[in-house]
Structures are given as structure tokens and as C-alpha cells.
């Protein structure tokens, strides 16, 4: 498959981006400042992220669309108000997570933001439940920009008046340069911020404005350290098709009504897990010293029994210490439990930690 590029590829190049292949795209891993500075400037000022590789999947249709989507998505779509968003997933027949996503109710239907690596398969999976009464479009003419950090709201309000009024996980249409753009107050860093869906033709001009307001470009490297500090999952690492929402400690993301009534893929299995708990569960992990427990690090109990594995681990620049997430046998999941992490053949101490590692500052 040919490597794909976002509309901002040359723009990133001019900003000094270092590129890596990611989900079939050439994406910036970092810019000149490097991961730690990019991370800190997002937490203290504001940063922008080109997340145009993610799928912006639009669905329209008659009243049967909700029932169709609810077969594979365990959100309460009937009660989702227009311009409101929910974090949810696509589930397979065993309750495993095919992808995690953000679904927003639009005037005519829904918009679903899908992970780049999964989007083709996601659409195939969703399409199984669609009929001729439903229209679908993966819109590749749109870029998606995340603007994150405490100064985001002030900077964006100057350009697009009214965004201040948006609450976390809601959105609206706004006018910009004679075009409509869709802005939601959301993101994946733990900071206040916005995600802006904008036509490929206008995106460079929009980024010019951000840069003139001292908003730094942020690559995938800092996106990873930011989301991990915020305790947020990365699909393909912390989540996959063999992991269900109960194991992933994401049962809060299954709507209350859906937990009672069910009717989605894997419901029998998930119902049972909701009642009885799962054998393993996702937890936060803090190594005692400076050692970094990366993905696939084995986790042992204090009496040397293997109890799990790390799925994401790095150095958290704002926590100023290494942080990790992983799966352990549920009896070891209590906050503060002492564990051991096997790194390069040597065991290092650590503790099960509360998530997030860094307190979120969403505007609710």
C-alpha cells in the first residue's frame, strides 16, 4: 500500500518535523523542540496536533439508523442530543474491542471519529448492520486538528467567536473564511481543548493563525506521553479485539441503559463480566525508581508470580517520573499494591497507581 500523507505534510516538513510511518501515513513524531518540550508547552500554553489520519465517518439515515449502530456500539444513541459526543467502541461477538471511538450526533445522523489504523475494517464492521436506508461517507476532504492546552480557548475564541460556550464533549458548526467548520470541545491529552474539522483547502491558513499565536506543533511522541499521563488508552496497545470493556476498566463508557437492556455484540459475555468481574483488568503502574517499563514488560507479584504485562509505558514529563499502564490479575489491581517489573532481565519495584497520573482539566 502506498504511504499516505495528510494535507499538512509539507507544512510539517517546513516546521522541521521528523516523520515516522504510522497506520499507513507519514506522520510527524516530533518537531525541532523534541518530545519533552512539546509535552510541557501543551500543558502550560497550547499545542496543535494534526490528527487528519483519523477517520471522519459520517452516517445519515431514517429512524432505523440508531438501532443499526446500537448493535455494534454500546452507547445510548437514542438519548444522545444533537452536537453531543460520547466515547465508545465497536464490539465484536465476544465483546472484544474492534476500535475505540468518539461518536457525535449531528443534525442528520452521526459522525464517528475512528483510529487511522482501524478505519477501513471499522467501516466494514459497521456496514454489516447498515441498509439502503442509510448513507455513509468517510470524508477525506476534511482535516482534523486538535488544539490542546490551557490557552486554547482564548486563542480559538479570537478567531472563531462562540467556542468558549462549548462544554466538554459538545460541538457546533461555526463560520470560518466563508466555510462551515465543526468544532468540538474535546481531545486526548487531559487538557482543555478543541478538535476542529476543517476542509483540506483551509487548514494551512488555520494553522498559520495558531502559529502566529505561539501555538507549537506537537508530534505523535508527545501525543503519546500526554495521553498516557491522562490515563487514556491507545488502541493496538492498551486495547485490542481480545480485550473487552470490563477488562479495559472502561465499563463507565457503556451507557447505563445499555448495561440493563443489552442488545449489542458480545452482550451475553459482557453482562456476565459486569456481574462477576473479569480475571484481569487494566491498571495504572508507577515504577518506584527511574526505570521505564515499556510495552510487554512482564509484571510479577511481590512473591515472584507472573501476574500481568505492561501495554504502554514511558517517562511522563509532567509527572516527572516513569508511568505505565497494563493488565494484571484482578486480585492485584488495588491501588498501592506492590508489584515487580522485569526490565532487561532484572526485577524492579513498582506500585499499582491511580489513573490518571495527571489531573484532567476539562471544562464541563
Amino acid at each position: 500500500m502506498e504511504v499516505q500523507k495528510t494535507a499538512l505534510y509539507n507544512y510539517h516538513k517546513n516546521l522541521g518535523a521528523k516523520f515516522v510511518p504510522f497506520a499507513g501515513y507519514e506522520m510527524p513524531i516530533q518537531y525541532k523542540d523534541g518530545i519533552v518540550k512539546e509535552h510541557i508547552s501543551t500543558r502550560t500554553h497550547a499545542g496543535f496536533f494534526d490528527v487528519s489520519h483519523m477517520g471522519q465517518f459520517f452516517l445519515e439515515g431514517d429512524e432505523t439508523l440508531i438501532a443499526a449502530l446500537e448493535k455494534i456500539i454500546p452507547a445510548d444513541l437514542n438519548n444522545l442530543k444533537i452536537n453531543h459526543s460520547k466515547y465508545s467502541f465497536l464490539l465484536n461477538n465476544e465483546g472484544g474491542i474492534i476500535d475505540d471511538l468518539i461518536i457525535t450526533r449531528t443534525e442528520k445522523g452521526f459522525c464517528i471519529i475512528l483510529n487511522a489504523a482501524c478505519k477501513e475494517n471499522d467501516i466494514k464492521q459497521i456496514s454489516q448492520f447498515l441498509t439502503k436506508n442509510h448513507k455513509q461517507l468517510l470524508n477525506n476532504n476534511l482535516s482534523l486538528i486538535a488544539l490542546q492546552g490551557p490557552k486554547s480557548v482564548k486563542i480559538l475564541e479570537k478567531l472563531i467567536p462562540g467556542v468558549t460556550n462549548l462544554k466538554f464533549m459538545t460541538g457546533n458548526n461555526f463560520d470560518y473564511e466563508g466555510e462551515k467548520l465543526y468544532v468540538t470541545r474535546s481531545g486526548y491529552t487531559g487538557e482543555d481543548g478543541f478538535e476542529i474539522s476543517i476542509s483540506n483547502k483551509k487548514v494551512e491558513k488555520f494553522i498559520d493563525y495558531l502559529i502566529s499565536n505561539d501555538v507549537k506543533p506537537i508530534g505523535l511522541g508527545a501525543r503519546d506521553t500526554l495521553r498516557l499521563e491522562a490515563g487514556l488508552c491507545l488502541y493496538g496497545h492498551d486495547l485490542n479485539e481480545k480485550i473487552n470493556p470490563v477488562e479495559a476498566n472502561l465499563k463507565w463508557a457503556i451507557a447505563k441503559k445499555r448495561k440493563e437492556v443489552g442488545g449489542f455484540n458480545g452482550w451475553e459475555k459482557i453482562k456476565n463480566l459486569l456481574a462477576n468481574g473479569s480475571e484481569k483488568i487494566r491498571v495504572g503502574i508507577k515504577p518506584d525508581g527511574k526505570v521505564i517499563a515499556r510495552e510487554n514488560t512482564k509484571i510479577f507479584s511481590s512473591d515472584n508470580n507472573e501476574i500481568g504485562f505492561v501495554t504502554s509505558g514511558t517517562f511522563g514529563p509532567s509527572v516527572n517520573a516513569p508511568v505505565a499502564m497494563g493488565y494484571v490479575k484482578s486480585e492485584f489491581s488495588e491501588i498501592g499494591t506492590s508489584i515487580q517489573l522485569e526490565v532487561r532481565g532484572k526485577k524492579y519495584g513498582g506500585k499499582i497507581s491511580e489513573l490518571p497520573f495527571y489531573k484532567k482539566s476539562y471544562v464541563k
Partner: protein, 126 residues
Amino acid sequence: MSEKKFSKKHEWVSLDGEVATVGITKHATEMLGDIVFVEVPDAGKAVEKEGQAAVVESTKAASDVYSPISGEITEGNKAIADDPGSVNTDPEGASWFFKLKIKDKSEYDSLMSKDDYDKFCKENPS
């Protein structure tokens, strides 16, 4: 102290009598990015030429540091283990990784000069 010599794995060595000081090059730190973890060897450990001797981790990944020369470790630089970020600031000075008593000076002689190393980096980017 003798002039610095360089390896293809981006370590530098300087020699003072029988004791060599080893660190990673500025070019290596630029490739690695922000260094957030360092593990240095304890005194007494024997290392082989091109054998793994220390560990350096950036926000992105973990990498081994090899000894370009064989011998017995006399000291690991604990200061960089306590402050890994200092390796980004002064990689070819205060932030050396370890010292070792060498066995064979010809191993040192066969390493690259500064000019040859700079040329090597230009010809082998990334």
C-alpha cells in the same frame, strides 16, 4: 588525556594511561531525543569490545550503549543516572557513561578520528 576516538555505534573514548572514558556522542543524543533514563555499569564488571555495557532511554525508546573497547569497569557515572537529562546537555564532557581499565590499546587506535566520524555520520544519516 588523549584525543577522542569514535565508534560506528556513536560512542566516544578518551584515554588517560590505561584508563579509558566512554560516552555517547552529541550526534547520538540528537538522534535519541530527550534522554529520560540511564543505567551505568558497576565497577568490577568485565566488558568485551562491542559488548553491551550501559542503557540509555529517550522518551521514544531504549537503546544499549556498547563499549568500543574491552576491559574492566572502574567507575560508572552515577551523576547521569540521577540526572539523565544532563546527557543531552553535555554528552561529550561531564556526562560520560563509564571508565574502564583497558586490555589492548590497539582497540583504541583502530577507532575513528573526529574527522572520520563526522564523515561517517554524514554518509549514514538517520
